[in-house]
Subunit: 341 residues, 2 copies
DNA sequence: TTTCTCAATGTTACCGGTAACATCAGCGAG
DNA sequence: CTCGCTGATGTTACCGGTAACATTGAGAAA
């Protein structure tokens, strides 16, 4: 009932200290390094904490120690079928160690990404996580100057300075070709997604082109004009199959397109894989529920989140159990052969 | 090269102030209320900010003003098919107004939820968002004492003190019955999910039971023992259809179960809806891609996020454009009639 | 007994902003 | 010409913790 400034009205370390008859720093130590506080004081403090319903103010703590327990992540989207697993596992692993997740989405826009990074840096997060290796110049400058660990996920390009946790999209493209080629298919087309900005998908296309060429086969890339993945898939199937020399197999840039294509084809009386083999990417939740179930490549979404969190915790000195080399940063995709190819 | 405490090594308001030849509070005002700073000083400050690459430290600002620009949200899960849209739209709307989202998942565990709430309160978020009306006692106590706005989502029970933004699960159950009853089905079964903890799903079941009873029909609830939704669906279909008096229609607690059931049935040669009508809940991404496409109810996931954000912004005085009553807090679900029922 | 060591605890100042109040210049009214 | 008011800017202290250094006391070593 007096202080000029109001505060939040909550109990502070000082209140706890007074009640427990110790100094405030001891209360602070009770939380950060309980082992250096004597049992007697620990008990008294615990009692006071409970009596006052004390909750530490992390903003104050972070300010004083210049190392908050927040980790910031920018991801293209939350609601898409791809990244949610990464966010989930990343968040869980962090929470387990007492860190909190600050999240924003970029929608594959490097400008939005930069805005988010700028806003996040204001919170001095303990670490910063981005998606892919492609950023704006501004972002590059910010992360170059950043003092906290920076991790790039969903891509693996070890030459870059930030730590990478991901996989090679180019190899995914090659792997898809390899699988279909091994099954005897020759006229293998690739359907790109029309989503502007997802640069990594273009890497997969490049891998496809490279491997096709190595096999002496002619690459055949179709770029849908429809934005809706469903419609785009239909468009691709119509264009690639209703012709004299139809495609024998189609690699879609993602499972959404593949499903759209298959569904359009099925409703038009086509049969897969008899009329054409279908190959996707992403292993979305529905992929195994389709008829025929979709052959695809599962990106290590969950693993990326886990390993990224692990690397960050290590960098922050929370090393914990796991041996430092239990995981490598280059993760494997899993080819899931189902009915469609 | 001197100060006892190191700081983050970044430029501060004081640095900017010195360079611009003003006092630090003026720099602070430049950011919070530019209109009360003279044009001359604004220019000088802007220059200094750019020269030093100054980024405001939000932790310090939040501490001093006791109102940070962080909003905390606890949600059952991120990677499931349901909540991602809510998170996405919520986060987008907040970002648009300069707020950041702090996120944690509870996995339908009220204890985990309480842990998250406790951790979040330490950041003195500007607002707190929870899912559903069911919490632990500890959580109830915490939010009762909380000074910031608290919003509960995905449920609408206006009697409660926290603001609600959601829909009535009981009505969803009734609505499902109504639709099938209107199509002439009598032996309508309900397949509950076995996911322990999702209390709202039980409300849907109760709505089903109530409406069935009102129609003079006998409720018929099947509880799968399998945890995997796919397997659970199969189990339900086998149990409900391979009998003398098979079910004519089945309402599944969610689309995952429905899809699992339909797929199991299809592979066993059953035809839907000829042999049995199938009705889901959730309108998951795959639901329109199934063969037959799934009749279901779309919860207003995206709208919940938007309205929750709007309510919070209003409570924080960021009123902004939207008239206060443009949205109500009780949102509508959309029944999507497709092929399966 | 004296000195030294080390573990337990306290004192002080500071992290980077901003609320509250003070000051000051310019200007119209009396 | 002085007074009072208003808008622009500055001073001071404080938000709630914790780093760095100081102090204390008990037991070990001399």
């Amino acid at each position: 009932m007096s202080g000029k400034r109001k505060g939040l009205g909550r109990a502070t370390v000082h209140d706890v200290a007074k009640l427990a008859g110790v100094s405030s720093i001891t209360v602070s130590r009770y939380f950060k390094q309980p082992e250096i506080v004597s049992q007697a004081l620990r008990d008294r403090i615990a009692e006071a904490v409970k009596a006052l319903d004390y909750l530490p103010n992390h903003a104050a703590g972070g300010l004083a120690s210049t190392r908050g327990r927040i980790v910031a992540m920018v991801i293209p989207n939350i609601s898409g079928p791809i990244f949610a697993n990464t966010i989930q596992s990343f968040s869980d692993e962090l929470n387990r160690h007492g860190y909190q997740l600050l999240l924003a989405s970029s929608y594959f826009s490097v400008e939005k990404e930069e805005d988010a990074v700028r806003a996040f840096l204001g919170w001095s997060p303990a670490a910063l996580v981005l998606t892919s290796q492609y950023h704006s110049e501004g972002t590059e400058r910010l992360i170059a100057k950043a003092t906290m660990p920076v991790v790039e996920t969903w891509d693996y390009v070890p030459e870059r300075k930030p730590v990478q946790v991901g996989f090679s999209h180019i190899d995914v493209g090659r792997q898809s070709v390899e699988y279909l080629h091994g099954k005897g298919y020759k006229r293998i087309a690739f359907v790109q997604n029309s989503l502007i900005g997802d640069l990594s998908a273009l890497d997969r296309r490049d891998g496809y082109i490279a491997r096709m060429t190595e096999h002496g086969l002619e690459p055949w890339v179709f770029v849908p004009t429809q934005a809706d993945p469903f419609e785009a898939g239909r468009q691709a199937v119509n264009s690639l199959l209703l012709r004299k020399q139809p495609a024998e197999a189609i690699i879609f840039a993602n499972d959404n397109l593949a499903a759209g294509g298959m569904l359009a084809g099925a409703r038009a009386g086509m049969r897969f894989p008899e009329d054409c083999a279908i190959f996707g990417f992403g292993n979305y939740a529905f992929s195994e529920m389709l008829l025929p179930s979709l052959t695809t490549i599962r990106p290590p979404a969950r693993e990326i989140g886990e390993v990224a969190a692990l690397r960050i915790l290590q960098a922050l000195g929370e090393a914990a159990a796991e041996g430092p080399l239990k995981h490598l940063n280059l993760l494997d995709c899993e080819l899931i052969a189902r009915e469609s190819a």
